[in-house]
Symmetry: C2
Subunit: 439 residues, 2 copies
Amino acid sequence: MSGISIDAKRAEQFYSGEEFTAMMERAKSAKEKLLGRMGEGNDFLGWLDLPVDYDKEEFAAIKEAASKIRKDSDVLVVIGIGGSYLGARAAIEFLRHSFYNNDSIAKNKYKAPQIYFVGNHISGTYLTELMDLLEGKDWSINVISKSGTTTECAIAFRIFREALEKKYGKEGAADRIYATTDRKKGALKTLSDAQGYKTFVVPDDVGGRFSVLTAVGLLPIAASGADIDALMEGARIAREDAFNKSAEECGPLCYAALRNIFMEKGKSVEILANYEPSMHYISEWWKQLYGESEGKGGKGIFPASVDLTTDLHSMGQFIQDGTRLMFETVIAIDKPRAEVIIPSDDADLDGLNYLAGKTMDYVNKNAMEGTILAHTEGGVPNILIHMPDTSEKSLGELFYFFEFACGVSGYMLGVNPFNQPGVEKYKANMFKLLGKPGC
Amino acid sequence: MSGISIDAKRAEQFYSGEEFTAMMERAKSAKEKLLGRMGEGNDFLGWLDLPVDYDKEEFAAIKEAASKIRKDSDVLVVIGIGGSYLGARAAIEFLRHSFYNNDSIAKNKYKAPQIYFVGNHISGTYLTELMDLLEGKDWSINVISKSGTTTECAIAFRIFREALEKKYGKEGAADRIYATTDRKKGALKTLSDAQGYKTFVVPDDVGGRFSVLTAVGLLPIAASGADIDALMEGARIAREDAFNKSAEECGPLCYAALRNIFMEKGKSVEILANYEPSMHYISEWWKQLYGESEGKGGKGIFPASVDLTTDLHSMGQFIQDGTRLMFETVIAIDKPRAEVIIPSDDADLDGLNYLAGKTMDYVNKNAMEGTILAHTEGGVPNILIHMPDTSEKSLGELFYFFEFACGVSGYMLGVNPFNQPGVEKYKANMFKLLGKPGC
C-alpha cells in the first residue's frame, strides 16, 4: 500500500459534502476514461503501465552505463530541456545531499560524478562558466532529446561534444556520450549510430513531462548513485493503489477532485508548498506536469510554488492577505533525512530555550501546522499530502501519484492532458526571426 | 542617466492612449505622495535617499570587514530570512560566476569565500549537510536580524555559533561573527555587545525588502568581491532619474502605471521573465518586494516568475494558451557577461548550421523576440525592461528602479506598501503550538 496519503481536513470548510460527492463522480468517470484509453491523447498513455511494464533489458543497460559513468567521470553533463530535464533534476536534488555538487561530496559520499544540467536555456554565460568547471576533470555527456533538433539542446550538444572530442579524441568521446533519444529515427539517433554512442529510448507513447521513469530520468538518477529499482517499486505501489482502490480511498482521485472544486469556485492559482529546500525542483517538475497538461484552450489552474518557511517571508503576506485567488497544496515529509537537536543556551537572549532539546523538525512541523491554520483562516483552502520519508521508494510513489492525478484532472477539465500545442508558437516565431531554412 | 529603460510597444495594443494618460496621472500623484512623505508607511522611507545619504563610516567598515573575511575565510555562512536574505543572494548570483560556490571558483577567480545562506527555513537536513561542507574549512558568520529573535535565524545562529566556538574558542569565534542588527536594542545587539562581535546597522526606517543597499545586503555582497561602490552609484543614478525626469520619461512611473492598467483589466498574475539563469534570485527578490508590498486587504497582483527559455518547456504552454489571467514583464540583458560562438558541423544532422558563426546571445535574443510576439498574440501583454549589462552599476539601477516603482504602485493601489501585517499570523499560530512562553 502506498505511503503517500492525502488529508483534506483543512479543505472541507470550503465546500459542501454534496459538491465533493458530485466532483468525485466526475473524477471516477475521468479515471475510467483514462484507464479505458478512451480519451483524447490516448496514444500517450505509456506512462500508465511503466512501473510494471518496462524494458528490463534497457533497465539493466541503464544501470551498467551509470556504473561506468560513476567509475570514469568526475562530472556528468546532462543536456536536455523540459521533461528531459526536470524529472532527473527533481529526483537528484531530493534524493542526494543538499550540496551534492560541492567540494567532492558527490565523489566521497556517493562515489558518483557531479551532475550539471545544460541545454535548458540559451545562455552563453552559463555555458562558458560550466566549461570553466570541467577544466582538468574527467567527464561524460548524457544528451536527451527525442528528435535531436531542439534548439537549446542541439546548441549545447554541439559545443560540449566538440570539447569532449578535443579532450578524448573522437573515439574516446564516443565512449563517453550517452544519447537518450528516439528508438529508430531522428538526428540524434542517426548521429549516435554513426558515431557509436550508447543509446537509450524515449518511448513514443510517453510525453516528456511523464517521462521521468524512462531512461530520460533514470540514467542521470542512477548516475547519482540513487536506487532506481526502489524508485520503480514505489511507482508500482502507487499504480496499484491508483488502479484498484475505491474512489474514496484513492489519493490521486481525491486530489484531482479537490483542485477542480476549487478551480470552479474561482481559485485560479494553485500554490504547491514544501518545507524542505530539497523539494524545490519537485515543484518545478510538478509545474510542468500540471501547467502543460491543463493550460490550454483558455483553461487551467496557474501552477505556482513556494519553498517554506523561506517564502513565508516573501510571498507569505500575499498568501495570507492579498487577492483571494489561490488554494494551497502542501507536501509534508513525515520523517526527514537528518535531524538536529536545538541546543540550550545559558543567557537565552534569543528566547529560544523553550525549544532546547527539541528537534528542528518538531519546530518545522509546527510552523507548517500554524501556517496551514493561518492560510485557511485567510480563506486559502489547503490540501495536505503526506510523504513518509525521503527515500527513492517514496519519491517513485509521489511521481506516479501526481501523474495519475494529472491525467484524471485534465480529463475532468475537458482538455487533452497529453499534448502541448502552445509550446510550438515561440519556436515558429524564433525560427522565422533567425532565418531558419524552410521557416 | 540610467541605462535601464522600459519598452511598452508590446503592451500598447492592450489599452488606449486615454487609459494610459489617466493612469499616468495617478502615478504622478502617487509619486508626489511618496516624495512628499505624505502617504501611509512614511516612517519607512529611508530607502528613498540611501544611495546619496548613507553612513560613509559604516560603508568603509563594511568594506574592511569584507576584506578581512576574504582573507581569513574559505566560507561565509550568511544567516537571514526574507529581506535579510534575498537581496544579497540575488546580487551575488547575478554578479558572480554561475558556479561561484563550486570547486574553488570563489577562491581562485575572486579571492573570496564560498557563501552559503541558512536560517531562511527550518530544515534540519539542510543545516546538517551545510555543516558537512564546513568540515576542515575556515569560516565566518554574518547573522542578519533586526531583533535577533526571528525563529528561523535564531535557531541557525545558535547552532552555527556553537560550532564556530567549538572550532576557534569563544574569543576566536567572536572575531569571526558579524552581526547586522538594530543600532541600539534587541537580543542580537545585546549579545553582540557582550561578546564583542562587530556590528552593522539595520536602519529603523528601511523595511527588510527595501534593505539590499544597507549593510544587510552590502556586507555579503562585498564579501563576494563585488564592487559595492558601483552598486551604490547605479542606485544613485536611478534615483536621480526617478526623482527628476518628467513622468513620460520616468521608467518606474511608467512600469507602475502599466501594471495597474493590466490589473484593473483583470490580469491578476504578473510573470517576471528573464533569459539568463543568473537572474533567478533577482526574480525571488522582486517577488518579495511586490508581493509583500501590495498583497494586502484582498488586493494585489500575484507575483510569479519564469526562467527562460527553460520554462517555455514547462510553463510556456500555460502562458501561451491557458487561463488568460496574466501579463508578463521581461528583463533583457543587452550585453551578457560571456559569449559563445556556435560552431559549424560538417554533417549538420541537427540542422543548426544556419546558426554557425552566430553567438548564442544572438539566438537567445531572437528566442526572446519570438516569445514576446507569441505571448502577446496569445493575449498576454508584455512589458520589456532593458538592462545594459551584468555590472554592479546596472544592478544598483535595477534595484532602485523596482523599489521606486513599487512605492508608487502600492500607493496607486491604495495600500500601505511598507508594512506586512499578514506575516505575523503564521508566527502567532506557530508560537502557540510550540508553547512559547507568553503566547
